[in-house]
């Protein structure tokens, strides 16, 4: 039979480091085909080859039965291939209609004048097709993440795309938005579109996909029919070993109080109180925009305090700058590695060294031997998969970048570590490693504030859970008393719950 997409024996190396060693992928029309694999397995590279960003070193690509050399994004588009990136490529200040037809406005130009009314009318039709009910003249800035995504899908469809690649499309979506997206995907399927779906959320794969191709270490290890397989089998193929427990939480005995915050007020926070004990994981839950990250920012000295007291290890401290926070033993693994965590152009070593430069210097001179040793130690301990300490951070996979961010904070030997969505966009294997690391840290007596939107993770990994709603804490749960419904009730402001008995 002819496939919509057929890739055979794809190989690709960067700077002599093989990323794809031998990959086969075959997707039929009208199928949702998942691409599953750990970070660094080569999924993104494969998709960039299919969408014309990279040329493979060897291998064949056949689209609808025709062998092709996809040497540019333009070629890919002409062949009906479109990719919806995880970081959406919309221009916030342009209108929905302008974004939809960006670069193709000429279709509505006559005598040099853009006929905007007709452009908007065309946009309206495209938006209807994806079930998005917004005015085409609204700037994209005002749309939610899910709506922006639908704009991107509409854009792809308006280019007659019949092979659609979606990279982590639900990473930033709410449950309702996810449902809407799935409805959309099903209707695409009926129209005969081939959808290649990349996600780390295993439950989703079972819900929406027909077949799964699993990749590991740059190879495709097999293609499975979703109805004839189960999660454990897939995970085993993905990590190359059986995985017993997704959340390996170890019980710890909380010790003395390491961080006590009271009446924390900023522009976004209305008097937050929290305590973290030695060896304790305090989960911070809530919906997007509830003020969870703002709590971290206020504690770290990033946002100016209107009021509030912070005590570290029983002593009141003043924190006006992250440097103060660092000095008092606080560390902050940020949500957005690329924007806030890493120097992408610089090496693994330089990134790991950054917060602790002052500790390996004599009169300002950097002690390079110590620095190299430090970097190698963290690479080994955290199992950072890089080709050496001199590899630029930009070329690492997401999970490994996250480990570098972890490493640089571990090197500061923190008393308290704030983790903001530490497993977002990270695959199952790397997730388990991060959980193990949390266990290791708490065993050493480090207190952890875990900010997470992943409820199962929050429930499984926290000793206590604080739930926020509109800038204040609306619920405090002990590990045993928490469940998803109760947390959601507090997160949506329908219920308030004070701390139970200690």
């Amino acid at each position: 039979m002819t496939y919509a997409v057929e890739m055979r024996g794809i190989r690709k190396s960067f700077a002599g480091v093989p990323v794809l060693r031998d990959v086969d992928l075959a997707v039929t029309a009208g199928e949702v085909h998942a691409l599953l694999g750990e970070n660094g397995a080569g999924k993104s590279t494969l998709m960039k080859i299919l969408s014309g960003v990279f040329l493979p070193d060897s291998g064949r690509t056949v689209i609808h039965g025709r062998e092709m050399v996809i040497d540019s994004i333009r070629t890919a588009e002409a062949a009906g291939i479109a990719m919806i990136h995880q970081e959406l490529n919309v221009i916030p200040d342009l209108s929905v209609a302008d974004n939809l037809f960006l670069g193709r406005e000429n279709m509505w130009v006559r005598w040099g004048i853009l006929r905007t009314a007709r452009l908007r009318e065309a946009a309206r039709r495209e938006l209807e097709a994806v079930g998005l009910n917004v005015s085409p003249s609204v700037p994209v800035r005002h749309l939610g993440v899910g709506e922006k995504q639908l704009v991107e899908i509409a854009k792809a469809l308006s280019k007659q795309a019949n092979i659609l690649i979606m990279d982590e499309p639900t990473a930033a979506l709410t449950e309702t938005e996810t449902k809407r997206l799935f409805t959309m995907i099903r209707s695409l399927k009926e129209r005969g579109t081939a959808v290649i779906y990349i996600s780390h959320r295993m439950e989703e794969l079972l819900a929406i996909c027909d077949r799964v191709t699993v990749m590991r270490d740059g190879r495709s290890v097999g293609t499975f029919d979703v109805r004839k397989t189960d999660l454990n089998t897939l995970v085993r193929h993905m990590v190359g070993r059986p995985m017993s427990d997704r959340y390996p939480k170890r019980q710890s005995e909380p010790g003395r109080c390491l961080l006590r915050v009271s009446n924390l007020r900023t522009k976004k926070l209305k008097g937050v109180r929290l305590e973290i004990r030695a060896g304790e994981v305090v989960g911070l839950g809530g919906l997007m925009g509830a003020g969870r990250t703002e709590v971290a920012r206020a504690i770290m000295g990033l946002d100016p305090l209107e009021d509030g007291n912070i005590e570290v290890d029983g002593r009141p401290v003043v924190i006006r700058h992250p440097a103060d926070a660092l000095h008092h033993g606080l560390g902050f693994v940020t949500e957005d590695r690329k924007e806030q965590g890493l120097l992408l152009a610089q090496t693994v070593r330089e990134n790991l060294a950054l917060p602790t430069l002052g500790r390996r210097q004599r009169m300002g001179w950097i002690l390079r031997k110590q620095e190299n040793a430090m970097a190698r130690r963290h690479m080994e301990r955290l199992r950072i998969r890089a080709a050496g300490i001199e590899q630029p951070a930009a070329t690492l996979s997401g999970g490994n970048q996250q480990k570098v961010v972890f490493g640089k904070w571990l090197e500061t030997s923190p008393k308290i570590l704030i983790l903001d969505e530490p497993t977002r966009g990270v695959d199952v294997g790397a997730k388990a490693e991060i959980y193990e690391l949390i266990n290791e840290l708490t065993a050493q007596g480090i207190g952890i504030l875990l900010i997470s939107s992943d409820l199962p993770e929050l429930l499984a990994m926290s000793d206590r859970i604080l739930v926020m709603y509109e800038g204040s804490v609306t619920g405090i749960f002990h590990r045993q008393e928490a469940d998803q419904e109760a947390i959601m009730a507090c997160a949506t402001g329908q219920r308030r719950r004070e701390e139970g008995n200690r």
Binding site: H321, Q340, G341, A345
Partner: protein
């Protein structure tokens, strides 16, 4: 796993990458221009001419070192030419007023440092875009210079002062020595010391740098201070060499300094670049100026040729 093997090779490439770090591209460009000139003019490749080129380059090179630091943080300093004029005028004025050359030079350097810190404060604490901040002070400092001099050159200075810009130490002109020392010190600071690493971090990702506990404001202050101080040094050297402080001295010099930095491969968005490249860049500009003079090209054509060569060089560098 085979990653340990790959690891070794990556570290090896890093160790043997010294030739990459010295930026072969701009250097080859410089050698190419020099080769062409030595074939077309028999006066180019003489010891006295090369020393002359080095002396001329030294002024721009001093400015370009400061510009490199500023640009590495993602900033820009347009005020260097005005600071140069202000420092030169103050030094000359103080000497003609009876101060010793040493005191006058020290005073001028302090004023330059202060002018630089003022730029840094506007950027770091006033939260102004560097372009705007230094565009303002460029005009402000030029105005102060014109007020101080009344628009007239100052030229009565003690003879001993002329050695600074016109003298020799051994066979090499004094300003060339200064350039060498400043480059060596700058290189060490950038590549071997903590402030350099932090400056690169700020240019690479300011948010990440601040979150890593780097007091980014202080380092911004520092780089603009360095730029101001070196501009003042260049101003004193120029005044000494010309035996006169011109209130309009250094007009447009900021562009030559920025051109040298860009020719040297430093990214204008910050975070990536090298002082070695800047030195080569400064020499490319100097050699072009000198060569066009030797070939008796009219000064109108010189400008056009220089601009075209700069664009060609940067374009070629992008290609590789």
């Amino acid at each position: 796993m085979n990653s340990s093997k790959a690891g070794e090779s990556f570290e090896k490439t890093a160790a043997s990458r010294w030739w990459k770090r010295i930026h072969l591209g701009p250097l080859l460009g410089l050698l190419l221009i020099a080769a062409v000139l030595s074939l077309t003019s028999d006066r180019f490749l003489t010891a006295s001419n090369l020393m002359n080129v080095a002396r001329q380059v030294s002024i721009n090179a001093l400015l370009a070192v400061g510009a490199t630091f500023v640009i590495l943080t993602g900033g820009i300093d347009l005020s260097v030419g005005s600071v140069l004029a202000l420092a030169g005028a103050l030094a000359a004025g103080w000497m003609s007023g009876g101060f010793s050359p040493a005191a006058a030079v020290a005073g001028a350097l302090l004023v330059g440092l202060g002018a630089g810190f003022a730029n840094g404060a506007l950027v770091a604490y006033g939260r102004l875009a560097p372009f705007i901040a230094t565009l303002g002070t460029m005009t402000l400092y030029r105005g102060l210079t014109l007020i101080y001099t009344g628009g007239r050159p100052i030229s009565s200075m003690p003879d001993s002062f002329y050695a600074l810009g016109g003298g020799y130490l051994g066979p090499v002109p004094t300003p060339v020595w200064m350039m060498a020392v400043v480059f060596a010190a700058g290189w060490l600071m950038l590549n071997r010391m903590t402030p350099g690493r932090r400056i690169l971090a700020i240019g690479g990702n300011e948010e990440a740098a601040m979150l890593s506990g780097i007091r980014t404001d202080r380092y911004k202050l520092l780089v603009y201070g360095i730029s101001g101080g070196l501009s003042a040094l260049a101003g004193v050297v120029l005044t000494s060499r010309l035996h006169s402080a011109q209130p309009t001295a250094g007009t447009g010099y900021e562009l030559d300094a920025i051109a040298a930095v860009v020719l040297g491969g430093t990214s204008l968005s910050g975070g990536r670049g090298s002082l070695w490249g800047t030195l080569v860049g400064a020499f490319i500009i100097g050699v072009i100026d000198n060569g066009l003079n030797l070939l008796n090209v009219s000064s109108f054509y010189q400008q056009a040729v220089k601009g075209a060569v700069i664009l060609a060089a940067v374009l070629m560098d992008r290609r590789r």
